[in-house]
């Protein structure tokens, strides 16, 4: 039972991060019908911005602000930096191809992905970079927390899971309860009709990139709190975020959240009960099964067309 609880906790932590990444894929796909394969690299840049901000604030051994402020500031820095990066990517890599055949922006997305990853490697090297949260507050993030049976739920996991869920709820409120959210939904439903109703489509698209990229930045920091990062980490993590979006139903915000969690649990249970060696294989088999048998995902709607 303890193993099951621990694997569930592992899956929840991982799934929360996947869900934040999947939201970025879904937001952009929902509006532009574009698979933004550079999204995983935006996530990676977020981990690096968080690392840089952490060093500027004195690191974990001599922080110049309290621990909670340190965590908040590095997360905000990563969100802001990634939002700017998202805007730049949209402006220079996707906007010129908006009316091109769908394969063109897809190839452009792959190009941007490799450009970002290898530029970062060239600039900062390919070393693993650890936030070293173990040194913050005498290791309290690892030792404090609460127990479920014999399983410890440490503070660092609580922070990761709570922060991810708070951001998902805020996004949900933004999309469903605000004017800009209504504009996003309208654009997603029918771009041309939305434009005719006076919605500034360019602004909506840019806003979707800002939101999605900021969430990727936050996901980057939450991920790197526990796990070292490096310049090419974004590709695989991005593919998993994309998988989560597809499983949940690409274009659906609740679907992205559900897909992230399903993928996190699937990966964790596969590692725990089937094989640690083949867990990535199992994850991508899951993707293929969904694409073939339920392409609309868990919460996506079937594409019914008038013939």
């Amino acid at each position: 039972m303890d193993t099951f609880i621990q694997l569930t906790l592992n899956g929840l932590t991982l799934g929360s991060v996947y869900a934040l990444i999947a939201l970025g894929y879904s937001l952009v796909y929902g509006i532009l019908k574009l698979l933004n394969f550079a999204h995983g690299d935006v996530f990676m840049v977020g981990t690096f911005i968080g690392f840089g901000a952490l060093q500027l604030l004195g690191g974990t051994t001599n922080p110049v602000v309290p621990a909670w402020a340190l965590l908040a500031l590095i997360t905000l820095a990563a969100m802001a930096g990634c939002a700017v990066l998202g805007v730049v990517i949209e402006r220079f890599a996707y906007r010129p191809l908006r009316d091109a055949p769908r394969i063109a922006p897809l190839i452009s997305a792959l190009g941007v992905s490799f450009f970002i990853a290898y530029s970062m490697q060239l600039l900062f090297g390919s070393e693993l970079r650890s936030y070293d949260m173990f040194s913050l507050s005498g290791g309290a993030l690892y030792t404090d927390g609460f127990d479920i049976g014999n399983v410890r739920v440490p503070m660092i996991r609580i922070i990761t899971i709570l922060a991810a869920f708070v951001m998902m709820i805020l996004l949900w409120l933004l999309v469903t309860r605000t004017r800009v959210g209504k504009a996003m939904r309208a654009t997603s439903f029918d771009r041309e009709a939305a434009a005719m109703m006076g919605i500034d489509i360019d602004k909506v698209i840019v806003f979707a990139f800002v939101l999605g990229s900021a969430l990727a930045g936050a996901a980057g920091v939450l991920f790197a709190l526990r796990i070292p990062t490096y310049a090419t980490i974004g590709f695989l993590i991005g593919l998993k975020g994309f998988t989560a979006a597809v499983i949940g139903g690409i274009g659906s915000i609740p679907g992205a959240m559900a897909g992230g969690l399903v993928l996190g649990f699937a990966e964790s249970y596969a590692q725990g009960y089937i094989s640690t060696r083949w867990s990535d294989l199992l994850v991508f088999i899951l993707l293929i099964l969904f694409l073939v048998f339920r392409p609309q995902g868990i919460l996506g709607k079937a594409d019914i067309r008038k013939v």
């Binding site: 698979l35 090297g125 173990f134 690892y142 090419t232």
Partner: protein
């Protein structure tokens, strides 16, 4: 229609994955037997990871190789230029093949220091052999490079440190001495860790210790689920990664999940700046060289050139590798009356080299049975509460 869309998405993923996995591989070069004038500037290449997760290792080796070239070349009457080839461990062995071809094509390269990692030696040794280039590694320890029925390295490969056939049993016996009854051993689906874990596992099993093997892809950085599978009764986790930050992360995640097992890293995690969870262990092929009085001036000279660096255990073997290479080049030059007629002349002389009072302690010479050092051993260090490494075995 939607199903077709799904298949298109799957194809896009496949294309993306394929693009990511492409890696260059050089073509075979043909050796030349043009004579090289020993009075001209000769090159020694060092092939090591200078960037990436094991970048600390290559840079430490480079600083010592530079120091050896600077201080020893003139003693042998040689003019040597050190050239570098970067092999980040994340890029796998393919990069070593490409770099090998580059140095093979340069006829003024007369010896190679490295490759530093076992996988890269296995990937490039055949090419170096065909070109007649001696490659002397300061850190590649996989047993099958020099021993066994299907040796992975050629007779042009030499190493100045002992192999995992010594490290694995040394580590296993140390764990047994510490009272280990249950040990979990990891490998990272690459030859270095697989060989080392197997060597340790064989000894542990033979002495009645319960063992469990886990295999992790080299790209994994979140070990949560692997840690979950470590039984609470485990005394040690043998974790022979080549990325010390991973060993640190794994040890932290063990603590996070309340597991009492201690992490035992191999020589690849021996980096006090990255792996510092107190109570953990690492093994290494070099002792603390400051314990040998005759090394005092060498260490002082190196520290003068590298004031920001601390004395580690990967660098001194690179100094010894360079010393062996310089000696062999000198002998080849003497035999050729001021010329190296063929780079194979250097290879032929490496095996004969004896270094009195070597930097690693005692006299150094190669075994007559293999291209391994004679009478070498591994040392074990424990990480202290202040993060320092203390020699314990």
């Amino acid at each position: 229609m939607k199903r077709r869309g799904g298949i298109m998405l799957a194809s896009a993923v496949t294309v993306a994955a394929s693009l990511a996995s492409t890696a260059g591989a050089g073509s075979n070069a043909v050796a030349s037997s043009q004579a090289i004038n020993c009075n001209s500037k000769l090159k020694i290449a060092i092939v090591a990871p200078f960037t990436g997760g094991a970048g600390f290792l290559g840079n430490e080796q480079l600083s010592w190789a530079k120091y050896a070239v600077k201080t020893l070349s003139s003693k042998y009457g040689l003019k040597i230029k050190l050239v570098t080839g970067d092999t980040p461990v994340e890029q796998g062995p393919a990069i070593a093949q490409t770099i090998a071809q580059k140095f093979i094509a340069d006829k003024t390269v007369v010896a190679v220091l490295g490759p530093s990692t076992s996988g890269n030696v296995a990937a490039s040794s055949q090419a170096f052999f065909q070109a007649g280039l001696a490659h002397i590694s300061p850190s590649a320890t996989r047993t099958s490079l020099t021993k066994g029925a299907s040796k992975e390295a050629t007779s042009a490969f030499f190493r100045v440190v002992p192999g995992d056939y010594i490290q694995g049993p040394t580590d296993a016996n140390f764990m047994i001495k510490q009272g280990a009854k249950n040990v979990v051993l990891f490998d990272f689906q690459e030859p270095y860790s697989q060989g080392l874990a197997s060597a340790a596992e064989t000894v542990l099993k033979a002495k009645g210790v319960t063992t469990t093997r886990q295999s992790v892809a080299n790209t994994v950085t979140d070990f949560s689920s692997f840690v979950t599978k470590v039984p609470s009764s485990a005394d040690f986790v043998f974790f022979p990664t080549q990325k010390p930050a991973d060993a640190q992360n794994f040890a932290q995640q063990l603590l996070e999940q309340g597991k009492k097992a201690k992490v035992f890293g191999g020589d690849g995690s021996n980096d006090a700046s990255a792996f510092k969870v107190p109570g953990s262990f690492v093994s290494n092929f070099a002792p603390d060289i400051s314990g040998f009085a005759y090394n005092k001036s060498i260490i002082a000279g190196w520290q003068k050139d590298n004031p920001k660096d601390t004395l580690g255990s990967f660098g001194p073997p690179a100094y010894l590798s360079t010393q062996v290479a310089l000696n062999a080049i000198k002998k080849a030059c003497d035999a050729g009356k001021g010329q190296i007629k063929d780079r194979r002349d250097v290879v032929r002389n490496v095996k004969k080299i004896v270094v009195k009072n070597s930097i690693l302690g005692g006299d150094f010479r190669f075994s007559t049975k293999s291209n391994d050092p004679l009478n070498a051993k591994f040392y074990i260090f424990q990480i202290q509460s202040n993060g320092s490494y203390k020699l314990v075995g």
